[in-house]
Symmetry: C2
Subunit: 305 residues, 2 copies
């Protein structure tokens, strides 16, 4: 089954201790679709400015990503400029230029309104709610958000929670949203407001998936070098939802496997700038890292080969 | 088989967001033995002052902990006073009073010199090296250390590494010792200096065990409330080495199980002040949490019940 992602298609300029890259492909929908395209068919709804180097999207198109819902508007594209210091755990935003994104009003093309899997990437929660008005009841609706919206549009974020099946957010965002320091308590707070699943991402420290009755934990894959953490969270979401859509199975056992796919795709994303590594990774490499992830946490039973 | 631990037996005064406790049992050897005593026979070598309320050790003696190597010296006992703020991740040391510990020179009683398992808890690396002169080749020697010694006795810490099989240290200590930000690289750096196993503890973010050929990751058990993190690392070491000693099996599969026992015992330690919870926890509770840990990370195979 296919996935629809609504989010940003941007140009990033990033500085890490290992180098810098200017005006490379970025944005939540870009990382999400680059990742999910390894597992299933993805369509993107978003907006770019008249200055966007559309040829740069060709590698994604070649991977089957459908950009028929990507609007082109007069004006400049969304740009983000950021820097990572030595610990690579948190980005320092140097500049955010919304450009055409500041007037974005997502229009879901008719043929995409019945997409069975929907990911509302991190954009204004009012737009996320608006998208929900335009789609026919999907099999799974997941959303992400960020500190900026939690602070400035709290009521809308809470309204959104009532209408989604699953939320992904990082640990500091979960704490900010719920005012709970403890992540188990934070997840319970969120689930009490609607979502049956909450995924709390902890960057290099892995991710939790909470349901009413269980907690699942997936470590981040331990890499010898992390090059650029930008987009890891969206690549995670792409692997997770891409796998669910590919299998069409929302059982707990399958959702656990999906979280591991998310962690694996996130680990590839950070090996190079932008979506570079996600464009070269092969299915064999993904499968091998899935096996490595299993070996990383395996105990009690005989160790898998 | 039995374990010998050489470390501190102290009195802690701790303040957390949930309350405070004054002059309660503390010290690395105390937490270690409280934890390991659930799995195997433990002997403690350390020193206390003439002011130490020895009756407080009775619960540990009842659990079979052997204090025949605990010296009593004229003077005041080692005291630590600390505070945890809301995030509970790092202790703020308000006061350290070494007392009789500042002149401590461990003497291993004859009958303990052939202990098959030896844990050199966090004390001056010169004393740790000195203990190694006194024991007959144990089956496994593990050591811990801390930022203070890495900074002030670097050469001795490095000398110690050449003589131990396994090191446990936390992530910031690993980075400080190796000057590597990346933990995989840090572990390789340490293993190149001697130890065949390196365990890097990340507190609430779990622990890695590195060997030349493999990486194993154990999450911290997600608790709904963490009361007092003091001693979690030593309780971890007690569960880990206690299980290895109980089974006498140093295969990788068994060492992985041992890491999970470490994580489980650490998770109990933080549920109350001092060793309170470690004194009440039952074998059935430990076994249940081992099953919960497996369920926490289980994927791909059928989920265990």
């Amino acid at each position: 089954m296919s996935v629809l992602v609504v989010g940003s298609v941007a140009l990033d300029s990033v500085e890490t201790p290992f180098g810098k890259a200017d005006d490379v492909l970025g944005g939540s929908a870009t990382f999400f679709s680059a990742s999910a395209s390894h597992l299933t068919k993805v369509s993107v709804v978003g907006v770019i400015g008249s200055d966007y180097p559309v040829a740069k999207l060709d590698p994604l198109k070649k991977r089957g990503v459908d950009f028929s819902g990507l609007e082109r508007a007069e004006g400049t594209s969304f740009r983000w400029r950021g820097r990572y210091r030595h610990d690579l755990n948190s980005a320092e935003t140097l500049e955010t230029h919304l450009g055409v994104f500041s007037h974005f009003s997502p229009k879901i093309p008719d043929k995409l309104r019945s997409s069975p899997y929907l990911f509302l990437a991190n954009i204004d929660p009012r737009l996320q709610l608006d998208v929900l008005q335009q789609v026919k009841k999907p099999k799974l609706v997941a959303c992400d958000t960020m500190n900026f919206w939690i602070q400035s549009r709290r009521a809308d974020v809470l309204a959104l929670l009532e209408h989604v099946d699953l939320v992904t957010l990082n640990d500091s965002e979960a704490r900010q949203l719920t005012e709970k320091v403890n992540l188990v308590q934070a997840a319970q707070w969120i689930m009490a407001r609607g979502p049956r699943h909450v995924i709390i991402k902890k960057g290099e420290h892995g991710a939790f998936m909470f349901t009413e009755k269980s907690i699942f934990f997936a470590p981040a894959f331990p890499l010898e070098s992390v090059f650029d953490p930008t987009g890891a969270g969206d690549a995670f979401a792409g692997g997770f939802i891409g796998y669910l859509a590919a299998t069409g199975d929302l059982s707990e056992a399958n959702m656990r496997r999906a979280v591991i796919y998310g962690s694996v795709m996130g680990s590839f994303a950070v090996e190079k700038f932008s979506i570079e590594r996600l464009m070269t990774v092969t299915r064999a490499e993904i499968d091998q890292r899935m096996r490595d992830m299993r070996r990383l946490v395996a105990f009690e039973e005989e160790l898998p080969a």
